[in-house]
């Protein structure tokens, strides 16, 4: 399958006219931003140019919605988190004050791995790469003074995603915000952990059980929550090509669809709330082709292979982050230019939300000044370039259309391989590819090929292997002091001191019982454990007793 559907010659004119009038009707029904859709010089511009398919029409190559950024700009969602929950809370409030419209949480390494701050391996890691969350007490501090019914929150956590989700629900309900009012996304994409990011805890199959538990739970009780964000970002950061990022990510998406269907859900009950997360790297047109191809592939597979009837199930909506791996430690200030170009590719590719990296992130977590420049970069694209005024402005370009087709073709080749590995099941194919090292090896080989091109000078990275004059060093970097760790350990000890151990033990026993019964949803028991002030590490350990712990095969 390649290229957008071309109607038969005889009917072409009338069906094209019908598509255009259907789009026009949908566009006119949409509420538009209060803006003058004209160029800087006062030239009025149409919402879209070119032919079928129109935005918001299957297979959504040109965008999932008929009016796109004419109705609403993308969400400027800046990822933040460091130190204690109180520190991150202050950064959140700063983001909201500066016009950010969504909160995105980075957790520290122990939290991401499902371990407490007092775990032996946590020394030196507490609060360093994100915020430390051990118990409900930390989650309360993280969102103190923020109305959770009025923000959309994204939590970037996978192995212990359901634990974080349970604590978030518990905090909201303590503040009188019901779970049904909560809006946001939890990453919860475990397949790419085995393939690329490596923040797994349990083996793949029980991990998939936890994911389907959350899908069932949110389908029934949390209509505004996205229970999974299927992420290519980390696959790309680990070294994949653009086509591998596209194919592995959507392939994982198909695996989740198959898992949810196998768990008894109807595809149209959960697929509308699946969302995606892509990387935007520096090869401008390749990235834009990738984003456009992602929408088309997802639409076709959901309709044709998984039998979706609801168009919302077929719409690939995604968050984009600029490529952290592209940031150079050398002449770090030139990263501002890289980020701007990558961000523009995301916008021209029709992203629903965007995180722009800070220029100093090759070296450390961003300083406040660097994070502000990154947000301002998005605001320049939004308000000065005119890019949001015309939908899919590159659609119809011979090169961009070719690149979109080519990305799709390369992705289909990879889907074919995974499907064969799984003898006709993308879910089994994903498990098999994890077990035999297919993903890890393909990504590492691609990373090495790229590195060799830089080494040989065949690919130029400005400031690294060419144009190296003028590096004045890193300047001001964010330092997280050991104070954070001491504070967090004290806080955890206090919480453990004050809680009722009998309640904790019985809540954990309830969770173990739920986990041991494959058809029982573990979410209610996990929320109870969070309320009982069980630590994240205790909850995870209880699940490991039932599910086991994953060890990566030693494949280079």
């Amino acid at each position: 399958m390649s290229g957008d559907p071309v109607p038969e010659a005889g009917q072409a004119k009338s069906s094209e006219a019908a598509a255009k009038s259907a789009w026009r009707q949908a566009y006119e029904a949409a509420r538009l931003r209060d803006a003058d859709f004209e160029t800087m010089s006062g030239v009025p511009v149409e919402p879209v140019y070119g032919d079928v398919p129109y935005p918001g029409q299957y297979p959504f190559t040109r965008g999932p919605y008929p009016s796109m950024y004419r109705s609403r700009l993308w969400t400027m969602r800046m990822f933040a988190g460091f130190g204690t929950a109180e520190d991150t809370n202050a950064r959140f409030k700063e983001i909201l004050r500066h016009g950010g419209t969504g909160l995105s949480t980075a957790f520290d390494m122990p939290t991401l791995m499902g371990r407490d701050s007092d775990h032996e391996w946590s020394e030196g890691e507490v609060g360093r790469a994100g915020v430390a969350i051990d118990t409900l007490a930390d989650m309360r501090d993280l969102f103190a003074g923020i109305d959770l019914s009025g923000v959309s929150t994204s939590m970037t956590i996978n192995g212990p995603a359901n634990v974080a989700m349970s604590m978030y629900i518990a905090v909201a309900e303590e503040n009188g915000v019901g779970r049904s009012q909560l809006a946001g996304t939890i990453q919860n994409d475990i397949l790419k952990e085995y393939q690329a990011q490596k923040e797994y805890i349990f083996p793949p199959r029980p991990s998939m059980r936890l994911i389907t538990d959350l899908m069932r739970f949110t389908s029934a009780e949390m209509p505004r929550w996205h229970p999974i964000s299927i992420s290519g970002y980390h696959i790309r950061e680990a070294g994949s090509t653009a086509a591998q990022e596209l194919a592995f990510t959507l392939g994982n998406g198909f695996a989740y669809v198959e898992a949810a269907i196998a768990a008894g859900l109807d595809v149209d009950d959960f697929a509308p709330r699946l969302s995606f997360f892509f990387n935007s790297h520096s090869d401008f047109f390749e990235e834009i082709g990738k984003f456009r191809a992602a929408r088309r592939i997802w639409a076709r597979w959901l309709k044709e292979r998984y039998g979706a009837k609801d168009e919302r199930s077929m719409k690939c909506r995604f968050h984009t982050q600029t490529a952290g791996v592209s940031l150079t430690a050398q002449q770090p200030e030139i990263n501002i230019a890289r980020v701007a170009i990558q961000a523009l590719a995301g916008v021209l590719g029709g992203t629903q939300s965007l995180h722009t990296d800070s220029f100093d992130e090759a070296l450390a977590l961003p300083t406040e000044d660097a994070a502000r420049i990154a947000l301002r970069t998005q605001q320049i694209i939004a308000h000065e370039t005119g890019a949001p005024d015309v939908i899919d402005p590159l659609g119809g370009s011979a090169y961009v259309e070719w690149m979109t087709d080519e990305m799709e073709r390369r992705a289909e080749e990879i889907f074919g391989h995974v499907d064969r590995l799984g003898t006709g099941s993308m879910l089994e194919g994903a498990y098999a590819g994890i077990e035999d090292g297919y993903y890890v090896r393909s990504i590492a080989e691609a990373a090495y090929e790229y590195e060799k091109k830089i080494n040989s000078g065949r690919r130029i990275v400005v400031g690294v292997n060419a144009f190296t004059e003028g590096d004045t060093g890193p300047g001001n970097l964010l330092r997280i002091e050991q104070e954070t760790e001491r504070y967090q350990l004290k806080r955890l000890a206090e919480v453990k001191q004050d809680r009722d151990e009998t309640t904790v033990a019985s809540a954990l026993a309830g969770l173990v019982a739920a986990a041991a019964e494959p058809t029982t949803n573990t979410m209610p028991a996990m929320i109870e454990a969070a309320r009982a002030m069980a630590t994240e590490g205790e909850i995870v350990a209880a699940l490991e007793d039932v599910f086991g712990t994953y060890v990566e095969p030693q494949i280079l």
Partner: protein, 130 residues
């Protein structure tokens, strides 16, 4: 001359293994023998493998800002075992930390953007085979 033998590992939680996997391929292409332990290793296990495999060098990679705690711990584990295997550190290491790490006994530090040549030379020098 026998090839240089290098043990490569990551310590603790940090899962960023792109750099270490690329380095493994660089060293292998330079004719070295790579014992790739991968993720979530303890310093004790790394030392035990290095001793058993008669390694010329240990390469560890840290991307989570935990280097000031973890790298000296690796050196100490080598010394506690009565060995003199050099420890090379790669990853995201701010310049201002280099002195402290060298004082703690790290033989060489390879930051982001280090070329294949630099990586191979650092190991050769550390293993006294340059």
């Amino acid at each position: 001359m026998t090839p240089i033998r290098v043990v490569l590992a990551k310590i603790g939680f940090d899962g960023h293994d792109r750099g270490l996997r690329v380095v493994a391929r660089m060293l292998r292409d330079a004719g070295m023998e790579v014992i790739y332990l991968g993720l979530r290793q303890t310093t004790e296990h790394i030392v035990a493998v290095a001793e058993q495999e008669d390694a010329d060098a240990i390469g560890i990679s840290i991307h989570n800002a935990g280097h000031l705690t973890l790298a000296p711990r690796m050196v100490k584990a080598v010394r506690d075992a009565g060995l003199e295997i050099p420890v090379i550190l790669g990853g995201i290491i701010p310049d201002q930390d280099i002195e402290a790490l060298e004082e703690a006994g790290i033989t060489a530090i390879l930051g982001p953007g280090a070329s294949a040549e630099e990586v191979v030379d650092a190991i050769k020098t550390a293993a006294n085979r340059s």
